[in-house]
Symmetry: C2
Subunit: 147 residues, 2 copies
């Protein structure tokens, strides 16, 4: 998660909403990414989705069995759906997202029996630090836009 958090901080430095994600397979980091929605002008360029795509490229397969995804923010429906589509084994997330979280906050797309795959989930890991980088980003943005 420390590595995902570094990715989130990189996003903040380039004006992107600071969310970071990494994919780990058997203890080895295979992909890391941060949100690039503004720079790429791509609505799908969330950290989790980019990390999953990179991991697939590295591993040469779309089924990411054996993979764990670490992300600083509870995945949105798109990213939670991508995690299901990629058959990720386990998801570890930091801060909860009461407005868009799809791992229990707004909906729970990982509820057993709902879709054809449901990963194990651990939330609230380094939640304060993961949330803090977001709070600082939006707080600085408000100061800038009211200046």
């Amino acid at each position: 998660m420390a590595c995902a958090l570094r990715e989130a901080r990189r996003a903040a430095l380039i004006g992107e909403v600071p969310v970071g994600a990494v994919v780990v397979v058997r203890g080895e980091l295979v992909a890391r990414a941060h949100n690039r929605r503004e720079g790429d002008r791509d609505p799908t360029a969330h950290a989790e989705l980019l990390a999953l795509r990179d991991a697939s490229t590295v591993l040469g397969r779309w089924r990411l069995h054996g993979a764990e995804l670490y992300t600083t923010l509870e995945p949105c429906p798109m990213c939670a759906g991508a995690i299901i589509a990629a058959r990720v084994d386990r998801v570890v997330f930091g801060a909860r997202d009461p407005k868009a979280g799809a791992c229990g906050s707004v909906v729970d797309l990982f509820a057993p029996g709902r879709f054809n795959h449901h990963p194990a989930v651990i939330g609230d890991v380094m939640a304060h630090a993961c949330g803090q980088v977001l709070r600082e980003f939006f707080s600085a943005k408000r100061v800038t836009s009211s200046a």
Copy 2:
């Protein structure tokens, strides 16, 4: 939808699950795509997601206000989430997906008030033809694998 269906047939020809999608803005087709998951070895390479990414590239923006997405199959959670993330105005889909549909079949991610955006939805458009291309694909696959 006829154009999306042509995309689905293209997918079948290359051994991909036949789903096609197009994005239309003010009556003009700006992007078309078919499922490329196997060929690209990318779990996110569903028709809808690819069409949304292409439309963003063409239009030079991630907010696809004014866009309509036509897809031959009810979007999965990932694609429905991408539709929300891209702020698409309206979704028109063909066949329902009782196993993975996220527009009412398994969950309804577009229910008003749930997320920060909810597109208008029209389902069951050319549903028989859109479902038939999938039925034929899986039926041929069963014959091949049992031969």
